[in-house]
Amino acid sequence: MDLTLIQGGRKTGLSKWFLRVPALLYVTLMILVPLIVIVEDGFRAGLSGLIHQISVPIAQHAILLTLWTAALMTLINAIMGLATAYVLVRYEFPGKQLLNAIVDLPLSIPTLVTGVMLVMLYGPQSALGAFLSEKIGLDIIFAPPGIVVALLFISFPFVVRTIQPVLMNLDLTQEEAAATLGAKPWYTFRKVVLPTLLPPLLSGSLLSFSRAVGEFGAVVIVAGNIPLKTQTAAVYVLGAVESENRLGASAVSLLLLTIAILVLMTANGIQKAWENRHEN
């Protein structure tokens, strides 16, 4: 890519910095500085202090709860997201446009509103909630299932939208060939389609996982926030901030930050590897 073209072929040394400096300053000041601040604060009591803070029973439970609800959600989302993407790309049916539009809704709805909606629908005061609680003994609101449902709601678009473009560009000839050879649709799917979809499926799932780990707005309304029972890491941080437990807040924040970065890096790595493979 010949960068000199845009500059009109004239001497360009300074002008590219004219653009670059504000951009770098922007990103550095906005993102890097707060991150550094929290890293520094998290290590104020040293590494051992940090580990102690995240090992406190309440914090530990909050972290584990966050991780397993996010993981469970990711698993369900991967499957249903894949199914939804498949249905939207390959099938024609009445109401397809509507379904496609609905998929995007969670992206635009404020997370707080999501929480409010879920409490309305599944809360102990609702018909559905009371029914589930009394007849099946399933408590959704103010219990871990509510957390999973809230996470499923907000993360729904990620897997679908990551898979859709890949699926759309998929060459149908391979599948048709397999079909003419007598392969059953499920077999064709498993052997021909799925391997190609695996990278976007993985990166979309990882994206939804990292998003879910930090979720606050929906969870704080829905979960009940009982320490050692239904309090997630983000809500724990809020409690720590409000009760001036700075070490605790910074330590858990740092942990959440690290998880987010690691998962994102993995997702990006998968995306890059897949892109590289396809450029050849």
Binding site: L5, Y26, V33, A83, P106, S108, V149, V241, S253
Partner: protein, 270 residues
């Protein structure tokens, strides 16, 4: 009924998806709409026109507009620099940009508190400059800016990547100034992505909750956005107020994104 589904397997899959989406997404939205009107239309109207609600909406909009403008300029700039230039540390910057997306909003608010709180690093400095950041609108603005950062950059990047060089080089050979090249050759190609990015950013800014709660404090009449207003109404047992506000906020955000989607589709048809 136009359909290409063959065999019961396909129908089963479709049914599964529809039921899932119905329960997960459509049902909650439906119950919200239902809940807002259980107390009657006039009560809903009263909530809609109440001063605290309107004030909170105004604050949300103000913050969102400024955030969008800043992101439009700096986000696009960042996308440009990242796509068109090569420099040391580029991968790091790229990585940093994804963080606001995954980082918990509470942590964002807390980071700003660490920076700008009374005992924060920049706290005394702000105090001497008589600028209030923590527990005031500027802090909430910064928080919203942080969480919405990736949207603009990620929207603009693919479009910048696909810019047509031949036009630019042609204009350059004809002696057009850089400025002119930008406005008349480059900008038109970016316009749609820019508007789409701005819309997404706006919707995201309106919906911000956790970060502005921590850094703003939710003071009625001062630092209460629409989301914080909903949160407070729930606390005050003003359920109609909360649900009506939630619907307004939800609907508005949804319409915004649908509009942006329509724009995107129009662009791909051009």
């Amino acid at each position: 009924m136009k359909t290409n589904i063959r065999g019961w397997g396909g129908w089963l899959l479709l049914a599964l998806v529809v039921v899932y989406v119905g329960f997960l997404i459509a049902a909650p939205i439906g119950s919200l709409v239902n809940g807002a009107f259980t107390s009657g239309l006039s009560e809903a109207w009263q909530s809609l026109t109440s001063e605290p609600f309107l004030q909170s909406v105004w604050l949300s909009i103000r913050i969102a507009v400024v955030v969008v403008l800043v992101q439009a300029i700096f986000g696009s700039l960042t996308a440009w620099v990242l796509t068109r230039q090569d420099f040391f540390g580029k991968a790091l910057i790229n990585g940093l940009l994804d963080i606001p997306f995954a980082l918990s909003p509470v942590v964002v608010g807390y980071m700003l508190l660490l920076l700008f709180g009374r005992n924060g690093i920049l706290g005394p400095l702000m105090e001497s400059l008589n600028i209030q950041v923590a527990f005031a609108v500027p802090g909430m603005f910064l928080a919203t800016l942080f969480v919405s950062l990736p949207f603009m950059v990620r929207e603009m990047t693919p479009v910048i990547q696909q810019l047509d060089f031949s036009q630019e080089s042609a204009a350059a050979t004809l002696g057009a100034s850089k400025w002119r090249i930008f406005w008349q050759v480059i900008f038109p190609q970016l316009k749609t992505a820019l508007i789409y990015g701005m819309t997404l950013t706006f919707a995201r800014a309106l919906g911000e909750f956790g970060a502005v709660l921590v850094i703003g404090g939710g003071v009625q009449g001062r630092t209460e956005t629409a989301t914080l207003y909903i949160f407070r109404s729930l606390d005050e047992r003003q359920y109609t107020d909360a649900y009506v506000a939630a619907i307004v906020l939800g609907c508005f955000s949804v319409m915004l994104v649908l509009l942006a989607d329509a724009l995107k589709r129009k662009r791909s048809q051009d």
